[in-house]
Symmetry: C2
Subunit: 189 residues, 2 copies
Amino acid sequence: MNYPGGIKTLKSHTTSYKNRGMSLEEDLNLTNEFYREEDIAYIYKKPTPIQITKVDYPSRREAVIKEAYFKEPSTTDYNGIYKGYYIDFEAKETKKTTSFPLSNIHPHQIEHLKNVLRHGGICFLIVRFTIQNETYLLTGKDFFSFLEQQERKSIPYSYFVEKGHLIPFTYRPRLSYLKIVDEMIGGSL
Amino acid sequence: MNYPGGIKTLKSHTTSYKNRGMSLEEDLNLTNEFYREEDIAYIYKKPTPIQITKVDYPSRREAVIKEAYFKEPSTTDYNGIYKGYYIDFEAKETKKTTSFPLSNIHPHQIEHLKNVLRHGGICFLIVRFTIQNETYLLTGKDFFSFLEQQERKSIPYSYFVEKGHLIPFTYRPRLSYLKIVDEMIGGSL
């Protein structure tokens, strides 16, 4: 396990649990790790897709990648299983305060989320507005309904406040987004 | 989409469909691509996990990874959604003719498959014996029952013949493993 550097701070009782300085990705890593440790859900971040063009083998057992390029992801970053359901989501943070730019999500990632929903999976976005320090879950349904009704290149912050679900910061897990997924499963969202 | 080099050959009607020279990974890529194109299932190979240690930015838009290392995978290579089910599997080929060495599968990959099964997902192994040119699907259930009953470091070929399910090579898809998954869903496996 690669623990983000902040885990020691987290274990100290004198430290605030508030999300200061931790990225959304680090928070989600800790959260998903908690869910796995507690045997609640098995959700992982996919590795970054890269195209490897040169590899050195200095010894028999060790390979060093000497040249590689980042590839555009064809799916979302996170997927896994919870209560028998296939879970799939993309997570992004923005420094903007009034809207979330849709350029943050690739068109084929949107297509992927639609495919997941159509095939009975549970999909959503997790978006953090870093200045407000608020993290929202927006269900796939509400995300797609925005895309259908609007031609805008960004989703207003107000849409997250109105339609999204604020994920509270807690000690363990950091971001208990599965509570909101429970409501999606229950059919109330 | 990155098509493996062989796709042109596949489209030629004069070429045999037999799996000669194509790796299991290439066959599975083509198969999963077919399933996506036909809107049957959305199953992807996860990117290879690497640890990036050095990146160059020769221009504003392009980044070149100059040093990176392969990391041990914590999950299996393939996962996705089919008929609302979470699907998860590992695929390996072996040149051995009498058995499949368990050293091909990391212990935490086995743990991951067990977690998936316990949480209501569908998991299995796909193993190709390259010399025999036979590709088997072994259900998670039969895989774990072997591990529990045996102390051996490999699964005999005969166990695949007896308990596994031979995946036929066809034109499209190359390996229609979802037919076997249908039987798993139906409860007959």
